[in-house]
Amino acid sequence: MGSVMQVVFDAASLGSLYALGALGIALIFGVMRLVNFAHGDVIAACVFVLLWPSVDAVAIVFAGNLPWFLLVPFVLAMGAALSVASEVVVFRRFRNANPATMMIASFALGFVIRYFLLMLYSSRPKSISLLPTLSQPVEIMGARIPLLQVITIVVTIGVLFGLTSFLRRTRFGLEMRAAAENFTMARVLGVRANRVIMGAFALSGALAAAIALILGSQTGTANIVMGANVMLMAFIATVIGGMGSLAGAVIAGFLLGAIAVVMQVILPPDARAFRDAFVYGAVILVLIFRPQGLLTARGTKERV
């Protein structure tokens, strides 16, 4: 019983990370058909904002020393700010470009962010202790689960509910949903394009920051490539979920996390090193049978 619970919690917390990442990508894809590959680097940058720039091996903790109730909003705000800045400085100039051009621009932006971090902090992973109290285990139905896992899952569910009610109940949410479905028509009805797109970037950046907080606490390190794996899985989740479908992205994120953790358990020990190959194999299977993704987003047809 205990070990089954352990697997369930592992799957749910890994899935939470992927789901949060996928949401951040799907939100932006929904309103401007941009697959933002810089998202992973925004995640990494959000961890590094806690440190003072230095190339020393030892991390000089700066904002990381804030109490948690200041630290969390600070990181979320930095993520949102960085993301909005990338819209204003980079993506706005590609607003009318085709999706492939925008995607390449996002790769370029990702490199700029990563090498900027490299310059300021060096490429050595630094050990940090972010919110250390969270690594203590709690006992749930016979399994010893790290508190952080529980918090990750609870926070993710909270974010999902919060985002859903934001999209359903606020004027801004209504405009975002309309714009995601048919951007031109929304503008003809007076919805301000810049406002909606900047809002999507701010939300996406705050989601990246949430992932950064979880990853930083989980791994205890700050590494300039730490967002890459989540980004890749999150991107795959948005594809499986049906590009632009928020619900699809979340479901597929949890599904990927579950598959990865279950593979880890059921694969023979010799094959475990190739776990990701099996996960991607499962992804290919899904796409063979449902090339449009699990849920099809409306309004993903070409805009005229």
Binding site: R171, L174, A178, R187, A193
Partner: protein
Amino acid sequence: MSLLSLSNLTIRYGRLTAVRNVAFTLAEGEILFITGPNGAGKSSLLRAIAGVTPPAGGRIDFADHDITGRAPEDIARLGVSMVPEGREVFGSLTIEENLTVGTGMHAGEHGWRGRAADALEEIYATFPILKERRHTQAGLLSGGQQQMLVIGRALMTNPRLIAIDEPSLGLAPNITDQVYERLIALRAHRKLTLLIVEQSSTRAMMVGGRMILMRGGEVLLDGDARAMGQSEAMQAAYFGYGDH
């Protein structure tokens, strides 16, 4: 004083010229039909007025503002509301949400909810079927209901000019009659200016008012719809014989 004025308007898609040197003015409260065969440039004209397709040349003025090449959301704020071809409802949003999208620019003292509530009641009074199904996803409505929804949605922005692309497209004749009946009533009631694109000129002749006949991106005829219906030039424009 004209509400809308187009001069020398040219619209291109790549190398294809869809509209060439079109000029006309539209007075406040007027009703204007733009008719003509497929590919005449009618829809392009509407899209340029709404700011969806920036023109390649010429100038568009609306209510004393030069709106040439301005963003659709700015043009909407000045009082232009376009209903595009194919209706384009937000299929996953409910009817009420579809209607509410257009009220963002009139926040006013009651906030958007207050403003939306008043405007909604007015639209529901005109189109009772929309009220009945207010919480239904718009994608599930019939063509006629969708047409009423998009007209209602356009009215929610409280426009001075409403520009509709083919309101009769895909509708049964009796439904089209209903749609037009409401449009004409609304025009009188709200002092709306109407710009209606239709492929066929029959509707224009039934309703009356002014008609512009386009072909190959140019204006061929401009005059009273009923008088024009009798003319030979009009037959020529549709069937392509005669010189023009």
